[in-house]
């Protein structure tokens, strides 16, 4: 019962993340430039969804379900103002049934289209002229390698870049802080 609920939450969280990413991407091209308020709200939703997704993934890891390490960093929680963790559903119990995370088809399709762009934009550490701030403290289970992108493209492509990662973990590795554009 609660395993099914946990899976539903999991799927819902992934769906919301996917919707949020597409909104973020769409907001790049809207007239009037990026809206700071809207981007902030999108990133908050993405963070909530990611946290839910993480916590349900953690319980799956504990039960021995395969989990893939993401290839680039996620944002930090470190310097963010601590916010109450959203717990709309009860935590999945440890002995939840083995759940194979399925990559939502639509997200994968979206990501495929953006892979080329992302490859082009990846470049080894390049000092950004924009104020970047100290590196986010990445959680333990994520590697610290950071995808450095072309100046100005960092924030959006960083969000998209995580889609390149293999199934399962990709949506959680978004650099949520970087979606807030620094003008």
């Amino acid at each position: 019962m609660s395993a099914t609920t946990a899976m539903e939450v999991n799927v819902e969280a992934r769906r919301i993340l996917a919707v949020s990413i597409s909104k973020l991407y769409a907001s790049r091209t809207q007239r009037g430039g990026l809206r700071l308020h809207r981007s902030l709200l999108l990133s908050l939703v993405m963070r909530s969804a990611r946290d839910i997704y993480h916590s349900s993934r953690e319980s799956e890891v504990l039960t021995g379900a395969p989990s893939e390490e993401p290839m680039d960093t996620s944002s930090s929680q470190g310097e963010q103002t601590p916010q109450p963790e959203p717990q709309p559903e009860p935590q999945p119990i440890l002995n939840s049934a083995e759940v194979t995370p399925e990559e939502p088809e639509n997200t994968e399709d979206e990501c495929e289209g953006e892979i080329t762009e992302d490859k082009e934009n990846l470049s080894p550490s390049r000092q950004s002229r924009k104020r970047r701030g100290k590196a986010s403290a990445a959680p333990d289970f994520l590697p610290s390698k950071r995808a450095r992108l072309e100046h100005g493209e960092e924030r959006y492509a960083a969000a998209l870049g995580s889609c390149r990662v293999g199934a399962g973990e990709s949506l959680t590795t978004l650099s949520l802080n970087r979606v807030i554009p620094a003008f």
Partner: protein, 443 residues
Amino acid sequence: MEEESDTRKINNSFLRDHNYATEADIISTVEFNSSGELLATGDKGGRVVVFQREQESKSQPQRRGEYNVYSTFQSHEPEFDYLKSLEIEEKINKIKWLPQQNAAYFLLSTNDKTVKLWKISERDKRPEGYNLKDEDGRIRDPSTITSLRVPVLQPMDLMVEATARRVFSNAHTYHINSISVNSDLQTFISTDDLRVNLWNLEITDRSFNIVDIKPANMEDLTEVITSAEFHPQQCHTFAYSSSKGSIRLCDMRQAALCDRHCKYFEEPEDPSTRSFFSEIISSISDVKFSHNGRYLMTRDYLTVKVWDLQMENRPLETYQVHDYLRGKLCSLYENDCIFDKFECVWNGSDSVIMTGSYNNFFRMFDRNTKRDVTLEASRENSKPRAILKPRKVCVGGKRRKDEISVDSLDFSKKILHTTWHPHENIIAVAATNNLYIFQDKVN
């Protein structure tokens, strides 16, 4: 409360004769002036249309003054910021009137980046009988002038002209969301996502930054300013609302930079209603002082709250605007409706508050009787001079005859902007590209 509707479609695209809505015609702000004689609307195309109430005629005492177009002008044009490769929208975000001090009318209008002061004045006389040029304007040959005359003012057809008197620009990195004129009538504030700037109406080349919430590291950003307003009587006090659902009251006498609030209004979050979208729906979209200056009203996605300025820890009153949407937040997130910014407004005596909703519905709450009503702004459902019928949304179970179910609501028809006449029961409601003006029943 019963209303007589003087419904008519006021077509802002005065140059064209189309029935469909073009995006430039979408009304983005409405505002009565301080006497209620004038009503200004701004649209996405950067135009301002001003309506004037016609004088009540003795021959038709039943026919209350109607609002007719008085002046139309292009306030803002689209611009391009070359440094950032960004287009600056010409959409008018807010209009605020200055109280009338002479024969001319003044208003401030703003888009995302620039505030302009417009003077609207009438001309009904023109000078005639110049010596050096004839009536067509052609220069006369000086050798043909044999006598001098003094030009005299002759009556002419009334012409209303709008001229930009001041342009307040280059002070905002982020998008301006509100402007507010001070009660001292000398200064005003303009507010963007992270900063509030104080201007003098006479000086356009500099402004003072009085609030700055930009963090040193933009990755630490957790909240933005969503609206700010001066206190209606105290010229040193203003309030600003945030995306986190809090309001700060600041006193400009305390310090030059008002980063420290003197009052902080926030209601603790109810953990039982927490969801993915809690942050979005708690973001305040509008803040308005009451006319008497004792209360503040805030609008977030699902509620309107009235705060007593003396009580910071919780609102005095909370009104549910459309709580039936609480279970639909995910779909509203997907279709972007959850980001809609509704405004709220007080009536002249601060006894009734009004705000918009979807399906061209708008809601009024009587603070004294605690009664509320849902009305609809649509031509199909109201004939001119007919009394508006209260509407009801059916939340589940059996739907009664006149009720509308939540799933049938049209979310593309939203009423974001409303305004209330300062003294009388006349309201103006913007429904996409249509303006509705409703007046209270005569007698």
